[in-house]
Point group: C2
Chain length 530, copies 2
C-alpha cells in the first residue's frame, strides 16, 4: 500500500535546504540577508547557493564529500548552509575561536576536501591548510569568488536520503579531542519547523545573528529563519554597540544567545528598552539568572529558556511559558524560567532516568540523567563507533546532564554528572549554588567547583566576577547564600577572578578546579561553623 510508482508522488525526502527553494519562490524579492552594506533578496540567496554548489563541484567536491567553512557570522557561512548540500556534500562549520592546530585536526578528521574561507580569516585558513595532513583545497571568498557567484550556471543536487549526512558539528569539549556530531537532513528539517513554531517566526521576522552559526548550525536557525521567509541580519563579531544599533535600525524581532552574551548585551551602555516592536530572545547553554531576567523584563525582552546539546540539533527542550505564571513574584518567575522545560513540539521522548533506565519519580527532587530519543538526535559521532555506542547505550542518547522531573513534567538540570559536589555524603549541585550567588545584585558571573577536602570529601569553591561599579565582600556573598540554601552548601571560599572559557564561551571548570586546588588553605573558617 505504501510502495509502488503511483505513490511516489506522496513522498519527498525531508531536507531543510528545500526551505530556501520555497522562500525564493514566495518571497523572491524580499530581503533575505543583511550583512553590513551587503543585502541579498531570497531570489539572489537561492541563486548564489546554487552557484556556490557549482563552484564546489568545479573544485572537485562530489556527492558524499565534506566541505569545511571558516567564516564569521556572515553571508558566506549562511550561503554555505545551502550551497554545500546543493553540491551533495555535508557542511563542517568551523569554530573561528579555535587555534590552527585544532582546526587542522577537524578538517582532517572530517575528511573535508575543500575549505571555504572568508578573507577575514585568510591567514588562519592558510595555516590550517599547511597543517592539515590531507590535501585540502582552499576556496577563498574573495572578489573572484564574488564574481563567480554573481553569474553562471547552477548546480542543485537532489537529496536522495533524508537520513543522509547534512552537517558535521565538532563539539568543543573541555577535554579530549573534538567529536564530529552527524546531522541528518530529516532532523534539521523537523527541528527548523519546531523553531519556527516556538518562536512564531514568519516573513515579518528579523533575526539577528548573535549566536555563532558554527554552534549546531546556529541551533538550526540558519534554516528556520529561511523557512519562515524572515530576514537574516548578520553580526560578524559579537559587538554590543553594533547589536543594539541593528536592533534599532532594522527592528530586530528575534535573537538567540547564551546567558553570558545576553548579560553583555543587557549590561551594555547602549542597552535601551525596546519600543515599537517585540523582541524575542532564546537563551540556552545555562539558565538565565533572576537578575538577568529582571534586567531583560525592564528592557522589554521576551526571554525563553531553551535546553539542548550539539547532539540534539540544539534546543531539544523549551521552557514553555504559561500564562498562569505571569503574575508570580520575580523570584518565582525566575525559578520557573530557569527550568530546562519540556520537549519541543517534535521531541516526544525526553526522560530523566536512573542508572537502570527507570524514570525517576516526578517529585522535583530525585536526580537522574536526561536521555533522549527522537528525530532531532544525531546519527552518531563521525568515524567514532566507540563514542557513538557509549552515547547511545541502551538505545537512548545519554546527555550526561543530571536533572529532576517536576510534577508538571518540566525538567530542571541539577548538574553535569561530573559537576556534582559530594560533601559529607550529601550532594551539592554546583548549579544550585551558582544560582544562589548569581542572585546577589553585585555578581556578574559565577562558577562553582569542587575541591577535595580531608574531612568532608569535597567542598564547593566559588569564582566570582563582580559587576562594574559594584563592590562586595566574600562575607556578604556567603551571608547571601546562607539566606537561601542549607548551610553546608555555602562555598568554603569566594575567589574574585575572571573565568577561563573555551572558544565557544563555556566556562572551563577543569581549569577552575586546578586553580582551586592550588590555593592557600584559609584555616577552614567555613568548616568550623558547620
Amino acid at each position: 500500500m505504501t510502495d509502488g510508482p503511483t505513490t511516489s508522488a506522496s513522498f519527498e525526502p525531508l531536507s531543510p535546504t528545500s526551505f530556501l527553494e520555497r522562500s525564493a519562490e514566495v518571497y523572491g524579492n524580499h530581503v533575505a540577508i543583511v550583512d553590513g552594506k551587503f543585502t541579498l533578496t531570497y531570489s539572489q540567496f537561492f541563486d548564489r547557493a546554487r552557484r556556490l554548489a557549482r563552484l564546489l563541484r568545479e573544485s572537485g567536491v562530489q556527492r558524499g564529500d565534506q566541505v569545511a567553512v571558516l567564516a564569521p557570522n556572515n553571508h558566506v557561512l549562511l550561503e554555505s548552509h545551502y550551497g554545500v548540500p546543493y553540491c551533495g556534500a555535508a557542511i563542517v562549520a568551523l569554530n573561528t575561536r579555535l587555534a590552527a592546530a585544532e582546526l587542522a585536526y577537524i578538517v582532517g578528521h572530517s575528511g573535508s576536501r575543500v575549505l571555504v574561507c572568508d578573507p577575514h580569516f585568510e591567514k588562519m585558513g592558510r595555516d590550517v591548510c599547511a597543517l592539515a595532513d590531507t590535501s585540502l583545497h582552499l576556496l577563498l571568498a574573495d572578489d573572484e569568488y564574488e564574481r563567480q557567484l554573481a553569474d553562471g550556471p547552477f548546480l542543485h543536487e537532489l537529496v536522495l536520503d533524508e537520513r543522509g549526512l547534512l552537517a558535521l558539528n565538532y563539539t568543543s569539549g573541555t577535554t579530549g579531542t573534538p567529536k564530529g556530531v552527524m546531522y541528518h537532513h530529516r532532523g534539521a528539517y523537523l527541528q527548523s519547523l519546531a523553531m519556527t513554531r516556538h518562536f512564531d517566526l514568519d516573513s515579518s521576522s528579523v533575526y539577528l545573528w548573535t549566536l555563532p552559526m558554527f554552534h549546531c548550525n546556529g541551533w538550526c536557525f540558519t534554516w528556520a529563519v529561511t523557512a519562515a521567509g524572515g530576514v537574516h541580519v548578520c553580526l560578524p563579531e559579537m559587538d554590543t554597540a553594533a547589536a543594539w544599533r541593528m536592533i534599532d535600525e532594522v527592528s530586530v524581532t528575534h535573537f538567540c544567545a547564551a546567558p553570558t552574551v545576553l548579560l553583555m548585551l543587557a549590561a551594555s551602555p547602549d542597552a535601551r528598552p525596546i519600543a515599537g516592536h517585540s523582541l524575542q530572545v532564546a537563551v540556552g547553554g545555562a539558565p538565565p539568572s533572576p537578575a538577568l531576567i529582571q534586567t531583560c523584563e525592564r528592557l522589554g525582552l521576551d526571554v525563553t529558556h531553551l535546553y539542548g546539546l550539539t547532539e540534539t540539533f540544539g534546543p531539544v527542550a523549551i521552557c514553555d511559558w504559561k500564562a498562569e505564571w505571569d503574575d508570580l513574584p520575580l523570584i518565582e518567575r525566575s525559578r520557573h524560567r530557569a527550568r530546562q522545560g519540556v520537549g519541543n513540539v517534535i521531541s516526544q521522548n525526553l526522560r530523566v532516568v536512573t542508572l537502570d533506565m527507570d524514570d525517576v519519580p516526578r517529585d522535583g527532587a530525585t536526580i537522574g540523567e536526561i536521555v533522549i530519543r527522537g528525530n532531532n538526535v544525531m546519527l552518531g559521532y563521525f568515524n567514532d563507533p566507540l563514542a557513538t555506542e557509549h552515547a547511545f547505550f541502551g538505545g537512548w542518547f545519554h546527555t550526561g546532564d543530571l536533572a529532576v522531573m517536576h510534577p508538571d513534567s518540566y525538567i530542571e538540570i541539577r548538574d553535569r554528572a561530573k559537576d556534582i559536589i559530594v560533601s559529607g555524603g550529601e550532594n551539592i549541585s554546583s548549579v544550585e549554588v551558582e544560582a544562589a550567588i548569581a542572585s546577589h545584585p553585585a555578581v556578574l558571573e559565577v562558577a562553582v567547583v569542587a575541591v577535595p577536602h580531608e574531612h568532608w570529601g569535597e567542598r564547593p569553591i566559588a569564582f566570582v566576577v563582580v559587576r562594574d561599579g559594584h563592590q562586595v565582600t566574600e562575607r556578604e556573598i556567603c551571608d547571601h547564600v546562607r539566606r537561601v540554601l542549607a548551610r553546608f552548601k555555602v562555598p568554603d571560599r569566594i575567589v574574585f577572578s575572571a573565568l577561563p572559557k573555551t572558544g565557544t564561551g563555556k566556562i572551563q571548570k577543569f581549569r577552575l578546579r586546578e586553580i582551586a586546588q592550588s590555593l592557600e588553605p584559609e584555616h577552614g573558617r567555613q568548616r568550623d561553623e558547620q
Copy 2:
C-alpha cells in the same frame, strides 16, 4: 552510516497522534476540549483516547483494520482521531449529511469493522448497519461507553510505519461513487505542523469547530490544535447564534470555513465586531468575494484564503498575505486575497502545467492544470488502483483544477476542467463570472454554468441568491458584470433561485446544468448584442 542499532535513537516514525501524548505531558491540566457543558483537560483527553483504543480492541478491532465514526463535531469524533490509531486502526470519519445507503456503501467499501456512533445519530447508525453487507459492530457512544472511557486500562499501539494508513476520507464527488482517500501518518504530521506555523497556533489558541471534522479530518486541525496545546471548542451543528456566542464567551481565536459558512456567520444578526482578541479565519473551498472580505474586515476578522483537496490533507496552498498589500484599495486587496496562493511551508512541489507536463509561463494568463507532489499527498484511493493510477499520471497528483501562474509565483484557479465555458472559441471561466456577479452588493451567492448554444457552442447562465432585504433585476446584474468583464462573458440569463448543494455544501453544478437546459429560451437577447 544511517543504519544499525546505535542510530535507532535518532529515528521515530512521524505520527500526528504523538502530539496528544506531548500535550498531555506539557498541558496536562489545561482545557483541551469544550463540548457544551462537557470539558476535558489534555490529560483526560489522552486517557480517554487510550481507553477508547482498548474498547475498540475489545470490540474485535485489530492492527490494520478500519473504524468508521458517525458523530457530529464533538468530543466523540475528536477522541476517535486518536483512539482509533492508538488501537492500530485507521479512522473513517463519516459525512453526517449523507443518506443511509451512501454511508452503508462507505463502511462496506472501507471494510470497517466497527461503527462508533454518537447517540444523536443512533437511528441512522442502525440503518447503516442493517444496510451494510459486511458484519459491522455498532459501538454506541452512550452512558455505558462513557463509563468505560472514564476508567480502566489503556491501549496505545506504537506507529510502526509512518507511511502507513491513518485515515480514509471519502470524497463526496458530485457524480460517481465516493472514493476513499488514504492518509498516511507522515503526511498528517507534517500538514499539522504547517497549519500551526501558518496560523500561529499555540497554547493560548481557542479553535472553534465550524468546519466539519469529516472534511479532510478538519483540514488536519484535529491534530494541529492538539500539537499547539490549544482548546478545541466543539460546535455540533453549524448554528450562527451559537457560533457567535462561543466567539464571545470563550474568546475564540481561530476557525476554518468555506465562504458559504463564513457568509452565513457574517450576515447573521448576531455578528458583531471582534473586540479584545484577534480572530483568524481560514477560508477554503472557493475564493472569498470582495463583499465578503469587506464585511470580514469590518467585523475585525483576519481572513486567509487556503486551497486544497481531500487528496492533499486539506490546505496544500495558502494565500500568504504580504504587508506590501495592506494599503491597496479594497478591490485590489480582494483580488490578491482571492488567489489560491503558494505552497504551504511543507509543500515544495505545486506546479501549473500544460498537457505535456511543461510549466505554463508565469504570465497570469496561460491556463494549465495544478499538479502536486509531496508529503501531504494521499497514498492513493483505497482499493481503487485504476482511479489511483489515473490521478497520479506521470508521477504527479492531478487536481483537475485549471489555473494560471502569476509572475509572483501565486497561483489562481480559473476553473475546474469541466467548468470551463467555451464560447465562440474563447474560454470563459465560470469562477471569473461568479466573482464579478458576487461583487454586486445585492448578491448573496451565485453559481455560473454552461448551457449548449447552437451558434456559440456554450454560453454562461447564472443562478443568483439575493441578499435579505435587497432587490436587484437581471438587467442590473448584467450591467454590473459588463462594467468589469468583456461583453462575451456576460451571462445570457440570470435565474433567481436557491442553489442545490451536496451534503458537504458544494454547489451541485450538474444539477444547475440540467435546470439551465430545461429553461424556456429567451429570444437570445444577450446574443444579439454580441
